[in-house]
């Protein structure tokens, strides 16, 4: 089974060709001058090394690989590191060659797009996650169900309900008290607006009370708002609270939105226990592209479900600050269905929304690169100030995410200010002579 990564092979070949050409040029330089190595020796050595390494990389990427794991996280992040570790565990227990391919970016450049496009022959795995920014984690679950066949759930990070440190209770909270909290004051959400809105709607449906949501950018601002009594109760991800020291009193945590209690906080009850059947949170899962056969899934899961692998993966997930929950394909499918149902009303727009955005992202990237290259090429021959203003203005219009028409004068004005400010600072303060 050959899985070639065309991009890296072509890149290396281009560099090797350039290196060979330069090597020929380097031969024109003398080898020894004035009793020491000539000007051609060092570049030639470096170029030979370059060609050698290029060949090594090309050959390595041409080696047939049994499984490739598509990851949307760059290898420089904690989650990227986690994926490398999990890949290592899988590879050693499968006895197969497994490689992690990172595809950061959105739309056509994303790992998921690549996975969807690949054949469902059991050779491509993708990391699915609730926090990949297409939309809310419930829509991501819906997307995952539609295009992927889940292999297993890796981690589940439920939401926590927080109270202010001044109103802690000595005993567990009851359903009525929660209903009173929701109805009497605002409810704060420390997550993306869309996710929060969908949780709020789910809460409304389950409790039959109107929810007044307020959205915050971080756990810190949520806790601050709790202390200032702007909100009565707050929702935030459990991992954020556990990894930071923002919540001083454990008693501030009154409930979790998970199915069962999590081992890290065994004394905190779930909303389900209290009487409100809501299960939501951030999740990570592995999945094959839809259409893959059941044998592949069962085979992979049987390997992964071995106790030593499960404990290894659990500890890796914990090291990276997530809350592990290793469960098989059936559980994962059921779980994703539940998550997707929270956003079931808007499900039908997801497909259109996502594919439209993919095209838009592609056009944006091409337009940005084109504008940038044009600016670099013509900036020296025409007036710098004018071309920088055009570049800034046009690019910000292209990138503006919302309806551009209202903001047009604002964008043009800001572009003019910024380009003039940069010109002025550099030419006056640093005596730069712009063309």
């Amino acid at each position: 089974m050959i899985r070639r990564d065309i991009k890296i092979v072509s890149f290396c070949i281009v560099i090797i060709l350039i290196a060979v050409f330069m090597l020929c040029k380097a031969q024109e330089l003398k080898a020894t001058i004035a009793g020491t190595i000539g000007p051609g020796v060092f570049p030639s050595t470096v170029l030979c090394l370059l060609i050698l390494l290029g060949l090594v990389i090309t050959i390595k990427s041409c080696i047939p690989v049994d499984v490739r794991l598509l990851s949307p996280y760059s290898s420089e992040s904690l989650k990227g590191l986690l994926i490398q570790k999990i890949a290592g565990i899988l590879a050693s227990s499968l006895g197969a060659r497994l490689v992690v391919q990172t595809a950061i970016g959105g739309g056509f450049f994303s790992a998921h797009y690549k996975a969807i496009r690949s054949k469902p022959d059991g050779h491509t795995l993708a990391l699915l996650s609730g926090s990949i920014p297409y939309s809310s984690c419930f829509l991501n679950a819906s997307f995952a169900l539609e295009h992927f066949e889940p292999l297993c759930l890796l981690s589940f990070d439920p939401y926590m309900l927080l109270l202010s440190s001044k109103s802690v209770l000595e005993r567990s909270i009851t359903l009525d008290e929660i209903r009173k909290l929701i109805s009497s004051a605002n409810v704060g959400f420390s997550c993306e607006e869309e996710t929060g809105k969908q949780i709020a709607r789910a809460l409304e449906l389950k409790s039959q009370i109107a929810v007044k949501p307020l959205f915050y950018d971080s756990v810190h601002s949520l806790v601050k708002a709790l202390e200032q009594k702007t909100i009565g109760v707050g929702f935030c991800l459990a991992s954020e609270v556990l990894n930071s020291e923002v919540v001083t009193e454990r008693r501030q945590i009154i409930a979790l939105t998970s199915e069962d209690r999590i081992p890290d906080l065994p004394q905190i009850p779930t909303l389900k226990e209290i009487g409100m059947d809501i299960c939501c949170g951030d999740w990570m899962a592995l999945g094959f592209p839809a259409g893959v056969s059941k044998e592949h899934i069962n085979y992979f899961w049987s390997i992964l479900a071995e106790p030593k692998n499960v404990s290894a993966v659990e500890s890796e997930v914990r090291n990276c600050g997530e809350i592990p929950k290793i469960q098989g394909p059936d559980f994962a499918k059921q779980f994703l269905k539940e998550q997707a149902s929270i956003a079931k009303d808007i499900k039908k727009d997801v497909q259109v929304y996502i594919s439209a955005r993919e095209h838009l992202t592609l056009y944006r990237v091409i337009a940005s690169i084109g504008l940038f290259v044009t600016f670099v090429l013509i900036g020296s021959s025409s007036s710098y100030l004018l071309s920088s203003f055009c570049f800034l203005g046009i690019l910000s219009i292209v990138l503006w995410p919302r309806k551009v028409a209202h903001f047009l004068p604002f964008l043009i004005g800001i572009a003019a200010c910024i380009s003039f400010a940069v010109y002025w600072i550099f030419s006056k303060a640093f005596n730069v002579v712009f063309p």
Partner: protein, 329 residues
Amino acid sequence: MKKLKRMKYWFIALMVFTLTVVIVAHEAATSAIDYPKKKIELVVAFKPGGGSDTFARAVARYGEKYIGAPIFVTNRAGGSGAIGFTYGAKAKPDGYVITLIVTTLTIAPHTTPGYPVTYKDFEPIALLATVPSCISVREDSKFKTLRDLIGYAKSHPGKVRLGTSGTGGPWHLAGAALGAAAGIEFSFVPYKGAGPAITALLGGHVDAVATSAAEIYPHVRAGKVRTLAIIAKQPFAAMPNVPTTISMGLDADVVSWRGLAAPKGTPKEIIDYWITAMRKLAKDPEFVKFMSSRGVTVQLITGKAFAEWLAKKHNDYGKIARAAGIACK
């Protein structure tokens, strides 16, 4: 916030000051021609902070009042001055881009293959300063005089390690000229500039070093370095006891010079205007004091005489380079 506010006031104060100077200078310099009307760019083909750069900034600062317009310095470094000189030579000949030309312009065309510019591409204005080159050793070296060094080098050809500030540079040429004149063979150890070469000398990694007298002077004053000889016709003012090679009978003369030039085709009135201004600058007491504090002698040769001087230097250095075997043409 307070600090930002204070900075703002400083900035405004600086602007007002510059404006006043400009206005006053404008009134002070009455000229018959309609020049200069705006800022003048002085191109330095080397990195900021180096010798040429500091020299150019001094010229700009003290010369502004004689020119009658603000002069600002731009650094266009690279390729042993090739980039800056090419820019200066190809600029519009309207008098608003003046280049600081230095020794490298007359040496590099001989030693660097493919050097794109020579003195012929410029309209010379004036020579402003010269600094002779010299050969120095550490204070505790076994060579007490130049004769000792030459004697040792004759008996051990190729053993004396002479540090230079770059192959094909002025000080390599000075060392090569001395070697050719004395009939000895140095082992040249090139460094990236005079600084590292002097550092290597102080660390004992080379036996001797050929640099400009101004660059080595601080170390001589500190007593760490002894200059054996000045490789030029005239002795160096700050070190009057050091003999010159000419006086010792060795025909080696390499000086580092700095002057101003305009692109070819600049109108004669503008050149004459600059020559007049430079004449005044050369007599300016503050400028002279600044120069002598750095060991640089102000020497003025203007206009046609400068052009002839340049041509002579170009040919001389070409001859020395060929004799030393470092020429490429």
